[in-house]
């Protein structure tokens, strides 16, 4: 008997995929909002452990990232490369081409425009010309960095995830070598001297004009994906390569083209960081933005406009936690843990939106409910109903 009961037991927790039609958009929004709330609650644990009041800490994060003009400008500065990389990844992901090489493509772009800044910065060339050259070189270098894995995927069907990841290390390695070798300033410093002022991006409203470039890309990207032939091709390939071929699309070529484009936009991110913010090159120029951008892209479901919101949120946390560190001495690592928790919860909630968790007890409850109603319907007495429940529970207790 007990043996049999064991066999018939359903697992304690089960997952079931919700069918597309069951998704209620309002519910999805509610789940997303509650995931942020849960993240804030969970995030307060490490903060509490450092002896700081979490409410106060969160206050500082908000105040320290949006509280005054300077903070706001710094937050936006952080947001620019992140948003730019997320936009770049969008078409690749739409195509189901798992490009995780934004980090490297950004670095490649940064290296190329630094080269221009170093070679021509001191020349008599006008600033606008140098900046344009830097821009173009960043695009080409980033594009090539993206094109290479695209080419190998198209021609030899290599694994794009590993390939783009490797390309990251190569680009970062080159930057490191330049930093310690050919472009090093004073021997032994491992630092490349600040570039000439002519290579600085002008400020608009207090922030370098990279933000205008990125906003333009947001709009262009939106139209590119929804209105152009290219965007259509990318969407078809993402759904079914066979169908794309059948419709006469050159899948390999489109892959290479899209990867070039993606790399080029990452290259622009590199240019904006070098010419707008750092004014020098180092091996951490990408600063993890290329990886975080994957999360941003994914969370915004490849919608350009939503990417603005998500990247803003992440920039706020990143900038705010720096302030938190300075003001009340919460270690930077704790702030990182908090933003890790937030990302985890936001990604995790997508899972809850698409899947349903069923506990065994909820199943039994339903089965009982229906069994009892059936019973009731049969003999019309609540008596039989009552007796059936203990019988069931006793079986369950085994």
């Amino acid at each position: 008997m007990s043996d049999k009961a064991k066999k018939n037991k359903t697992p304690f927790i089960r997952l079931s995929k919700k069918s597309e039609s069951m998704l209620d958009p309002r519910k999805a929004v509610a789940i997303r909002i509650s995931s942020v709330v849960v993240a804030l609650i969970l995030g307060s644990i490490p903060i509490l452990l450092t002896g700081v009041n979490p409410v106060k800490a969160y206050g500082i994060i908000v105040q320290g990232s949006l509280g005054n003009k300077i903070y706001l400008q710094q937050t936006i500065k952080k947001m620019i490369p992140l948003l730019c990389c997320a936009l770049a990844i969008g078409p690749c992901f739409k195509m189901r081409f798992w490009n995780i090489g934004a980090e490297g493509q950004l670095t490649a772009g940064a290296i190329a425009c630094s080269a221009i800044a170093i070679w021509f910065g001191k020349s008599s060339m006008p600033s606008i010309l140098i900046l344009s050259l830097m821009f173009i070189f960043a695009i080409v270098a980033g594009g090539i960095w993206g094109f290479i894995p695209g080419y190998f995927k198209a021609k030899y069907n290599t694994n794009e995830t590993l390939f783009t990841l490797m390309m990251n290390y190569i680009a970062i390695g080159i930057a490191k070598w330049l930093q310690g070798g050919p472009w090093e300033g004073r021997k032994g410093t491992q630092i490349i001297p600040i570039f000439d002022r002519k290579t600085f991006l002008p400020n608009v409203l207090g922030v370098h004009c990279g933000w205008i470039i990125v906003l333009l890309i947001v709009i262009i990207m939106h139209y590119y994906m929804t209105r152009t032939k290219h965007g259509f091709e990318v969407a078809v390939i993402g759904d079914s390569e066979n169908t794309a071929r059948y419709a006469g699309m050159n899948v390999g070529w489109i892959m290479m083209r899209t990867m070039f484009l993606s790399g080029a936009i990452c290259g622009i991110a590199g240019f904006v960081v070098v010419a707008g913010a750092n004014h020098t090159l180092n091996d951490v120029v990408a600063d993890g933005n290329g990886f975080t951008a994957i999360t941003v892209s994914w969370l915004s479901q490849l919608n350009s406009y939503v990417m603005i919101l998500i990247s803003a949120l992440l920039a706020i946390i990143s900038k705010g936690s720096k302030t938190l560190n300075q003001r009340v001495g919460v270690p930077a690592s704790v702030a990182e843990i908090v933003s890790g928790i937030l990302l985890f919860c936001m990604l995790g909630c997508e899972f809850f939106i698409n899947y349903e968790i069923k506990f065994r007890w909820s199943r039994d409850k339903d089965a009982k409910k229906s069994a009892s109603t059936a019973e009731q319907a049969k003999n019309g007495s609540t008596d039989g109903n009552r007796s059936s429940i203990p019988a069931n529970t006793s079986k369950e207790a085994e």
Partner: protein
């Protein structure tokens, strides 16, 4: 009632704005084969999915052996003895039949015992599969058999088969029906979904009819006729006639000579195939499944590499263009349209996540200069196909993946026919379509023919081929075993050609 296995009362199911089922009452009895009949999108699959635990009804009750039950998962369905064979199979390619059968069971993996039990089931009902065979080596019909055995192995008493015959050859269908009759003798309850009325009449005891998601009636097969069933299905008297209009002066349009292709393993799929397709003519292609039909159409449209031979397209001014060596796009520009309906409808030809409009655009997205596409024309085309073929869908933006099987097909065929190509290639164009729509498609093909197209029609049902086609090319094992006149050929003659090449057994 003693032999009533499942009873459905007043079942309702909606998907957002779409009412897929409403007020359905159905009785499934032991020892009986019940056919479920209805036009495309009338809710047959949805209804059966509620019995097998894929969907839950929004309203109504399900009784199993007189007990009210809630079926919340396929697992629950199995506990109630219900097993469903879906149209798309869920088998693991690298596993053997036996491994697939016990997959997902909590049972200890005693393969030896499983093999003997599988063998037992096979012998009992007359299946011919080897439990040790790997799935990737199997034909479609063998895979289907594995699915059926899988369901029987779990002790299912109620079997639901969703359009099992759509992918089978007539011979395989006969075999399946023999098995179903054995099961009936074994007092199992069987529900069969099919669009082919001949099959309904041949195998079923009762027929339940759905129309636009509503339940119409259940009738005894013996007391009804195909005509009456069609009328009930459509809701009005329909006359189905197929004629073969004569086109006045046919001209050669496509000249194929010595076409030979090999697959990746180096096996010859087409061997020295030669024929001519003419304007104003429907050229039927008959043959046992896998005799090279697919490769023939794919190589004409440039999707399959050609080893040797030539395919010439004849222009109106009598000049010819060689198609071998051209890309699919170039061939399409020349004017070869392909209405290829593969076994996997969504894998090739349509984009499941997009709506009708975007799927229409797959044909025309390149048109016009500049970066942006023009959505006006595909939108118009989608509207036209929607109306002309009665596609059941809430809007032209509704993802085609979520439409019913037959409606997905209508979108595909509708698009291909719409471009009025000089050469129209169709394969299994009516697979999974209800009878009314099938005839609509046949008539559209006739329209194409009378408009001067050379139409190639790869089909399965010999009756239709003989009624519709002017000439029938018979393929056997990649070779042309004969080209016969559709007006004079007999079924026996074609049947013989299908299994023999050049007079000797293949």
């Amino acid at each position: 009632m003693q032999n009533c296995a499942i009873e459905l009362k007043n079942i309702r199911k909606t998907f957002g704005p779409v009412v897929a089922n409403d007020g359905i009452n159905l009785q499934i009895n032991r020892g009986e084969i019940l056919c479920l009949l209805g036009e495309n999108g009338s809710g047959k699959t949805t209804l059966m999915n509620m019995l097998s635990g894929i969907y839950q009804p929004d309203g109504g009750e399900i009784y199993a052996d007189g007990r009210k039950v809630t079926i919340r998962s396929p697992h629950d369905a199995f506990k109630n003895g219900i097993g469903m064979i879906h149209q798309h199979y869920h088998l693991v390619d690298v596993f053997t039949a036996a491994q697939n059968i016990i997959l997902g069971l909590d049972e200890a993996m005693d393969i030896g015992r499983v093999n003997t039990r599988v063998k037992e089931i096979c012998d009992r009902y007359g299946f011919g599969i080897d439990p040790k065979m790997k799935v990737y080596d199997m034909s479609v019909s063998q895979k289907q058999t594995v699915e059926i055995v899988k369901v029987l192995y779990r002790g299912s008493e109620i079997l639901i088969l969703d359009e099992p015959t759509a992918v089978l050859t007539p011979q395989e269908t006969d075999k399946l029906f023999a098995v179903l009759r054995n099961m009936r003798r074994d007092n199992k309850a069987i529900v069969l979904i099919t669009h082919k009325l001949a099959e309904v009449m041949a195998v079923s005891d009762k027929v339940a009819i759905l129309r636009k998601g509503r339940y119409i009636a259940t009738v005894n097969t013996k007391e009804t006729s195909p005509g009456e069933l069609t009328d009930m299905m459509v809701g009005r008297a329909v006359t189905l006639n197929l004629d073969r209009p004569k086109y006045d002066n046919p001209e050669d349009k496509l000249v194929v000579e010595g076409l030979t292709v090999v697959d990746r393993e180096g096996i010859k799929k087409l061997n020295n195939v030669s024929f001519t397709a003419r304007t104003g003519e429907i050229l039927g292609v008959a043959g046992i499944a896998g005799s090279g039909q697919k490769e023939l159409l794919e190589s004409i449209s440039g999707l399959y590499p050609v080893k040797s031979g030539s395919i010439k397209f004849v222009n109106t001014d009598k000049t010819t263009v060689e198609l071998v060596g051209k890309t699919p796009t170039q061939i399409k520009e020349i004017g070869v349209g392909m209405g290829f309906v593969p076994e996997d409808r969504l894998g090739m030809g349509l984009v499941g996540s997009m709506g009708m409009t975007d799927n229409m655009m797959l044909r025309s997205w390149r048109e016009g200069r500049g970066l942006f596409f023009n959505r006006k024309k595909p939108q118009d085309l989608a509207d036209r196909v929607w109306k002309k073929l009665d596609v059941v869908t809430p809007s032209t933006e509704f993802p085609v993946r979520r439409m019913s099987g037959g409606n997905i097909q209508k979108v595909l065929v509708g698009r291909e026919i719409a471009s009025h190509p000089p050469v129209l290639l169709t394969a299994y164009a009516v697979r999974g379509l209800d009878i009314n729509t099938s005839y609509a498609i046949y008539n559209l093909l006739n329209d194409q023919k009378m408009g001067g197209s050379a139409v190639m029609y790869v089909g399965e049902e010999l009756d239709v081929l003989m009624e519709l086609c002017d000439r029938i090319l018979v393929l056997c094992d990649g070779q042309v075993s004969g080209i016969v006149d559709g007006r004079t050929a007999t079924k026996e003659e074609i049947g013989l050609l299908m299994t023999t090449v050049g007079g000797k057994e293949a």
